[in-house]
């Protein structure tokens, strides 16, 4: 099997053994059916054990898997009539973000998402899914267009982060991200955001101010990469595994923190094992979300989004404190 991960090796090996035995029985008269049955039972248990108790670091690995389905792959499975629109009408066309119009089961929508490459060549073209300001400005242009034509907006989040580069700073990376947060807050159409891979900090959030936020089971969403956190906290990037656990970056973590609405289940071992099946899981949640949100009026959608973010944060008041005079 290609692209297997360390933690799932026992499953893979057992599967291999079973298929070998099956091959063997075909070529001889020896009956091994009871042995095979036993092994298959064991496999079932093992799969349950491994895939239902995925550790945060293993989720990070799945989220970063080179074969992890990208925005465009999900678009091709989930939507019809997708028409990609390029450019920010200002500086350039950032291929680290894709967007356009499409239909979702007949409903006109605008779809936007970070886009990684599937190979080195495409990754260079798409800057590994790390946008420049013009990418965010293209996204905003398409969101405004969606608002004008009253189309719901669906955003797929999948980036290590906004690109940290000289040109990006010169063209206002901060402003571009900030502007999106500001404008998305006021959109008078339903906005649904789905984290499909890595949700890297502000670069992810700039497509992430929605009425509903969902995460694929093995995706991550964080203020900084585990490696970055480890370097900052313990001056040791090799502590990334530990950071992945401490930082609360997995879908179950974010669900517990009340930040996301739904965890979208993944096919066993990760979305990359079956894109079509995975798209069906996303499809169900997306339908449910849209049904809920289309009932809400334009003004209420904005209010709904406001309170969603207003509610995030933990604090208390001290009984006694030093007064500033």
């Amino acid at each position: 099997m290609v692209g297997e991960l360390e933690f799932e090796r026992p499953v893979i090996e057992l599967k291999k053994k079973i298929s070998e035995l099956k091959e063997f029985t075909k070529s001889t008269d020896v009956d091994l059916s009871s042995e095979i049955e036993k092994l298959e039972e064991r496999l079932e248990k093992l799969e349950k054990e491994i895939y239902e108790n995925i550790k945060p670091w293993n989720r990070v690995q799945i989220a970063r898997h080179p074969d992890r389905p990208t925005t465009l792959e999900y678009i091709s499975h989930l939507f019809t009539d997708f028409f990609e629109c390029h450019g920010d009408r200002n500086f350039g066309d950032d291929e680290a973000i894709v967007g356009g119009i499409a239909k979702f089961h007949g409903l006109p929508v605008t779809v936007i998402g970070h886009q990684r490459g599937k190979d080195t060549k495409e990754n260079i073209r798409r800057n590994f899914g790390m946008p420049h300001p013009e990418g965010y400005r293209k996204a905003l242009r398409l969101m405004r267009q969606a608002e004008k034509f009253k189309r719901p907006i669906i955003c797929f989040i999948d980036t290590k982060g906004a690109y940290p580069g000289k040109a990006a700073e010169e063209r206002g990376q901060s402003e571009a991200i900030a502007r999106n947060l500001f404008e998305m807050a006021g959109l008078r159409v339903p906005v649904i955001c789905i984290v499909i891979g890595e949700g890297g900090s502000g670069g992810a959030l700039a497509l992430g101010v929605g009425n509903h936020i969902h995460m694929l089971e093995n995706s991550t969403y964080s203020v900084i990469s585990p490696e970055g956190a480890a370097a900052l906290l313990w001056k040791d990037a090799s502590q990334a595994k530990r950071a992945a656990e401490t930082m609360k970056i997995t879908a179950p973590d974010l669900k517990e923190l009340g930040i996301i609405d739904e965890i979208i289940p993944e096919v066993k071992g990760g979305a990359h094992k079956d894109v079509k099946k995975q798209s069906e899981y996303i499809d169900q949640i997306l339908m449910k979300s849209l049904k809920e949100l289309v009932k809400i009026s334009d003004e209420e959608l904005v209010v709904h989004r406001y309170w969603k973010y207003k509610a995030i944060g933990e604090y208390s008041f001290a009984a006694e404190y030093v007064k500033v005079n």
């Binding site: 390029h86 450019g87 009408r89 119009i101 089961h105 004008k148 034509f149």
Partner: protein
């Protein structure tokens, strides 16, 4: 500088392409040579391929009649304000004569044709500019006809589609021409605020005042491959900045790269792709949302 491009391309492209009248019995232009790949082909074959070179995909210019015929459903076009003609507000010498000459040459009253028709069944308001008439320049008539088409689209609640081809403002009408940029843009703003859909398709060439007004104001801005699109002329920029400009400067592909276009669309796919957009915008009943 724009003038050079026009005269050059006219010589190259139009010498061998038969006019509307000559099309039936093609006496002179039986063969045609592609200006890009130099392949010699049957003119008929190129015409049948929507005037796109069968060898290299080079897009020959289309006149307004050819455009309407290739883009709209057969027999669906109905013209608006076809009789509107120019005055000579600045008493510009020879202006009427020049207009008359172009009328004869193009069998059109002005540089734009407007009206309504259907695209695979979707009704649209449409304006098609023709670079053969006064280089497709915008004077009072072009501005007014386009504005009226936008107003009519608003009134009928149908999309507005414009094919641009223009050298810019019409010099003979001076500042009145300049103001047509503001007039058409104001009409598009009102249409847009009322929820109207505008699709702009820039064809070779779209420059000056036209590129700096309605051509760039679509909800979707497209261009045909290789089309020259820009504000200032290439030579004037080179003289100003004293630098040689890249070969692809101000081409449709250059604009796409610099964020100005949603897409560059081959003429062969154009009708189908625009239909997709019209279809998504038309929406329709979505039953599963109800329960």
């Amino acid at each position: 500088m724009l003038k050079d491009i026009f005269t050059k391309s006219k010589k190259k492209k139009y010498a061998t392409i038969p006019s509307e009248a000559a099309k039936q019995d093609v006496p002179e232009g039986i063969m045609t040579k592609c200006p890009k790949c130099k392949k010699i082909m049957y003119t008929k074959e190129v015409s049948k391929n929507l005037k796109v070179c069968i060898n290299c995909g080079y897009h020959y210019q289309m006149n307004a009649a050819e455009r309407l015929q290739s883009f709209l459903d057969e027999g669906s076009f109905e013209e608006w304000n076809g009789g509107m003609v120019s005055k000579n507000p600045l008493n510009f010498p020879d202006y009427f004569e020049k207009l008359e000459k172009d009328r004869e040459k193009t069998k059109m009253n002005e540089a734009v044709v407007t009206g309504t028709g259907t695209v695979n069944g979707f009704q649209v308001a449409i304006a098609v500019m023709d670079a053969n008439f006064r280089m497709g320049s915008m004077g009072s008539v072009v501005g007014e006809k386009i504005t009226r088409a936008i107003e009519k689209a608003d009134e009928l609640s149908i999309p507005f589609i414009i094919f641009t081809a223009s050298g810019g403002a019409r010099m003979q009408e001076g500042v009145l021409s300049l103001m047509q940029m503001a007039k058409t843009s104001a009409a598009l703003k009102r249409f847009s605020d009322n929820g109207g859909l505008t699709i702009s398709i820039m064809t070779h060439p779209t420059t000056g005042g036209v590129s700096a007004s309605f051509a760039s104001l679509g909800d979707y801005n497209f261009a045909e491959p290789g089309a020259l699109i820009g504000f200032a002329g290439r030579r004037i920029i080179e003289q100003t900045i004293r630098e040689e400009l890249p070969e692809d400067f101000q081409t449709a592909e250059f604009l796409l790269k610099h964020g100005q276009l949603d897409a560059v669309i081959s003429r062969l796919d154009l009708k189908e792709k625009i239909t997709t957009i019209l279809d998504v915008h038309a929406g329709g009943e979505v039953k599963w949302l109800e329960n």
